[in-house]
Each structure stands twice: as structure tokens, then as C-alpha cells.
Amino acid sequence: MAGWIQGAWNMKVVTGVIGNDIHVVANRLMDLSLTARGYEVFNLGVNTYLEEFFDAAVETGAEILLISSLNGEAEGWAREVKMLKAKYKSLDDLIMMIGGNLTVGSGNAEAIVPRYKNYGFDLVCHQVDLNTGLDMLEDYLKAHPPRSQETSGA
């Protein structure tokens, strides 16, 4: 973990809150936590549209896209992820993660996680605390290192 925190992998993450959602405090906490773990963070803030997330990943060369949602609006947007991502020719290796409160009203992770994975996300954290979610991301990266990290010999 120590090497990770020192930013040994120095990976780029695009993050932000999707749709018409203004939960800025959670967004700021996400930014701080990712930075503390050694990622280079591109925080698009609240009220961000799906196209802006993908466009930011292209402009920055980010390896990870981490979308957050608190008002449950993500579901409406997430349905378009596969279709929209397919239009980009350079995002095949982009690691897609989503977290927060991913449904309106009550819902259980057993039903929600597979649904979002089917929408095109590699990692889904429904009502999981921030640090646990970011630990999940690190475990995923260790198991599936992005191609850019393999070629750089990290």
C-alpha cells in the first residue's frame, strides 16, 4: 500500500458527479481521497454529462473513469454508457467505475451491481463507503493492470 500511496503507478483518474446532481461535498471528498492515494485526479465536478466524462478521458489520457452519483439519477444515464463509449476509438481500455447511491429509493446491491456491470461498468459500489470502494479499485488494478502501466514497466 505504501508504494501505491506514493503514487508509484501515477495513474490518471477522471471523476465527477453525473447528471443533474449537485452533491459537491462527496465529490470533493472523492477528489481528496484519490489524490491522497497517488492518483492524478481530473475532477469535473457536479452536474456532468456522460459525454464530458468520456471527452475528458480522451483529452487527459486517463486510465480510470470514476463516476459518482448520490441522487440515484445515474441509472438513467448509465444505460447509455455502452452505446456512447463505443463511439470513441481510444477508450477500449478505460476502466469504468461507478459508486454512490445508485438507485432511487431502496435497493439491494445484489440486484444493482450486476445491472450496472451489464451497463458497461467494471466496478460498481452501491452504498459502499469511500475507502472500501477505493480499495476495491486498487485490488482491481492489481488484478487487471492497464496496458499503459504494463508498457511503462510499472
Binding site: L44, E51, E52, D55, A56, E59, T60, G61
Partner: protein
């Protein structure tokens, strides 16, 4: 010898020219059989002769501005930022191309004044490849500028003749950096104006730089509240003979662009009531509500073939409607404004000499009812004495 603070301000448009002294302002319809300078001296010679060359300040939009084609990597960042900078520098955009699909775009047949290449933050090279050079080799252009990521600059420069490389317009936090590209485009616009045979002669009467009119008008926007009863957010419409300029409060757009200025500009190059008359009519014929507007104004489509004062008035009313459509969700162009949040709508240019407040409010109300299903009524302000241009020109003259 003129007093130190006395300036003569001249604006050369495609249809009219305006001359402003500290005492008065006059407007004249241009005689297209004469050189601009000859026409100006014939109509306002006595006035011009009263001023020293260093006290005469001229701006012009008569050549319609420069054209640009932008090649960028994404719509939300590189293309959007470059488009924003180009519009604010007074440049007209012919097309914007997403690089990954560059092979699918057709090659414009017109000569492009300047091609802008942009994409990626500085730590993200490898955005461009041979496909860019292939496209550029088929394109006719006069200037080409690279404002993308730093690592790719050398590759592109090695392959593209006369490429100007400027600092990236996207910083490492994905924010816009305007200065370098805006200065470059503004200078290019000035050089273009100077190079125009007609405009070149105007340097016989002034020792100051001739600037693009939109650039000068932009200077007046922060001062609007001192001279007009305008409530933010507002838009300023300048419907001219050849083009229509719209300056708008940035509060009217949901944007990811963070800049210091409170206003942006967009231009509709082929929307005007004289030189671009046919194009305006064509746009109207393709708008299903335009017919209803003509009925509302109690005329028929035959008005398009008339050349009368009444026809000009109707065309101007149509132009207002079409511009508002282009700025709304109904016919989205480069920007979609939150028109229901707009509190004031300011009109300047020749339109204020032809239409009165009632004529304009009638069309604006029609637009809100038909397109936005609303009774919203922004306050109409008419700049009948060209104060906006005068304020901008004075501000600009102060800086020179």
C-alpha cells in the same frame, strides 16, 4: 488641432458606415461603386479633416471576418475551447472536426483563412498522426496554428509547412487558456483587414490600428449598465447587412468553460438583411414557424421578392426570430442559451433605425409563445444612438 480627448470614431460595416464625433453621430449607406475612403470623404470629409490622424480610430467588419476550421480531439473540451476563443476574437467558424473521425469529413472547397489544431493536455501526447497531415494536404488554407498538447507539436511541425505553434489552450486541470490563441487570431484579423485593398486606404487618415468591430463592441459589454437599463443576464443582438453578432451573458449557458470575462460572442455569418438577404430568406423558408410569423405580421411569402421599406422591416423581424431560434433548443447551433432566464434583450446596429420597440417586442413575444411555450417577456432595449459601439470604441481608444 483637435483637443486631447476629442476622438473621431469610425465604423465601417458591410452596408453602412458610422462616424462619431464628441458632438454627434452620423450614419451613411455605403456607395458600393466607390472605394470606402472616397465614399467616406465624400460624405463626411469636413468632419474627418477636423481631426488629427492620431485621434481617428477606425473599426471594420466590412470583410465579414476571417474563416477558420478547427480540428480537435473532443467536442466538450478542445473543439469547444477553440470555438469559444475564435468567436471571441471575431473569427467565423466554417467547420469543426473531431480528429478520430477525420477521414469521414469532406474537404471544404473554400479557402480557409486559418486552421486551428488542438487536442490533449500536455502530459497526453500521441493524439495526432499521419491522418492529420493527409487531411491538411488536401485542404486549401492560408494559416495554420497548433495549440494542442506539447509532445505532439514537434511531430506536426515537422510535417506541416508554416505551422505556428502556440502554448496549449487546455491546461493541466482541463481549464481553458485563452490568451495566446486569442492574441494570435486578433492579430491575424487585423492583418487581414489591413490587407484588404479597400480598407488599406483608410490608413491615409488614421495613424492608429484598425480593429475588428466585434472586438471593439466586446469592450463595451462590462459598461452596459452605466448607460442602459439592462438587467443581467442579457443578450446583445447586432443584426447587420451581412452577418448577425450575438453577445451574451455567460449566465445564460451551462458551460464547463471557466474564464474571467462575463460575456461570450457568437456570429451567424450568413444572416443579414442586405448582403446576406438570400441566405436569410433560405433559412426562413426552412423554418416551419416562419410562415406563421409572416401570417402574424399580416404579410405573405411574396414579401421575400419585394424590395421596399416594408420588406426590409419584415426581414429584420424575421432575422430576430431566426436568431432566437438558433440560440434555443429548437434549432441548436454552437450554443443553446437559457432564454427563459434572460432578463434583457438589447438591439444595436441598423435594426434600431428601422424597427421600433413595439415591432421587436411583437416578434420576441411570438418566439417565446411558439417555441418556448411561455409568456416570458425580457425587457427590450434599443441602442438607437449606437452608444454601445461608441462606448467600446472610446474604451478601446483609451487603451491605444
Amino acid at each position: 488641432m483637435s483637443a486631447q480627448n476629442d476622438k473621431l470614431l469610425i465604423d465601417i460595416g458591410s452596408t453602412y458606415f458610422k462616424v462619431s464625433t464628441p458632438e454627434s453621430i452620423e450614419q451613411h449607406f455605403r456607395d458600393f461603386n466607390k472605394q470606402i475612403l472616397d465614399d467616406l470623404m465624400h460624405k463626411c470629409g469636413d468632419t474627418v479633416k477636423r481631426f488629427d490622424a492620431q485621434d481617428i480610430h477606425i473599426c471594420s467588419s466590412a470583410n465579414g471576418g476571417l474563416s477558420t476550421l478547427i480540428i480537435g480531439t473532443t467536442q466538450s473540451y478542445s473543439l469547444k475551447y477553440a470555438t469559444n476563443i475564435a468567436f471571441n476574437a471575431g473569427i467565423n467558424i466554417i467547420d469543426s472536426i473531431v480528429f478520430q473521425d477525420i477521414e469521414d469529413y469532406s474537404i471544404p472547397s473554400d479557402l480557409i483563412d486559418v486552421v486551428i489544431i488542438v487536442g490533449g493536455i500536455d502530459s497526453n501526447g500521441g493524439q495526432f498522426d499521419q491522418r492529420l497531415m493527409n487531411y491538411l494536404s488536401k485542404l486549401q488554407y492560408s494559416n495554420v496554428v497548433y495549440v494542442g498538447n506539447a509532445p505532439d507539436a514537434a511531430l506536426v511541425k515537422a510535417a506541416v509547412d508554416k505551422l505556428v505553434v502556440l502554448p496549449n489552450i487546455i491546461d493541466d486541470r482541463l481549464h481553458i487558456v485563452e490568451t495566446h490563441l486569442k492574441d494570435y487570431l486578433t492579430n491575424l484579423y487585423q492583418q487581414d483587414i489591413e490587407g484588404k485593398e479597400d480598407i488599406k486606404h483608410l490608413y491615409e487618415i488614421t495613424s492608429n490600428q484598425i480593429y475588428p468591430t466585434p472586438y471593439v463592441v466586446n469592450k463595451s459589454l462590462p459598461l452596459m449598465h452605466d448607460f442602459f437599463s439592462v438587467t443581467d443576464p442579457f443578450i446583445l443582438l447586432d443584426i447587420g447587412g451581412a452577418t448577425t453578432d450575438v453577445h451574451y451573458s455567460k449566465d445564460l449557458v451551462s458551460d464547463n468553460i471557466v474564464t474571467e470575462q462575463g460575456h461570450d460572442r457568437i456570429v451567424f455569418k450568413k444572416l443579414g438583411v442586405f448582403k446576406s438577404r438570400q441566405s436569410l430568406i433560405f433559412t426562413a423558408e426552412n423554418n416551419e414557424f416562419a410562415y406563421e410569423l409572416l401570417m402574424h405580421l399580416k404579410v405573405t411569402e411574396n414579401i421575400y421578392n419585394e424590395h421596399s421599406e416594408k420588406a426590409t422591416r419584415i426581414l429584420m423581424q424575421l432575422a430576430i426570430f431566426l436568431v432566437l431560434c438558433k440560440m434555443s433548443h429548437y434549432r441548436p447551433a454552437y450554443v443553446t442559451l437559457k432564454l427563459l432566464a434572460m432578463n434583457s434583450i438589447v438591439f444595436t446596429g441598423g435594426i434600431t433605425k428601422v424597427l421600433n420597440t413595439e415591432d421587436i417586442e411583437d416578434v420576441v413575444a411570438f418566439f417565446y409563445r411558439k417555441i418556448l411555450n411561455s409568456d416570458h417577456k425580457p425587457v427590450t432595449v434599443l441602442d438607437t444612438h449606437y452608444d454601445i459601439w461608441t462606448i467600446g470604441a472610446k474604451e478601446h481608444a483609451k487603451c491605444q
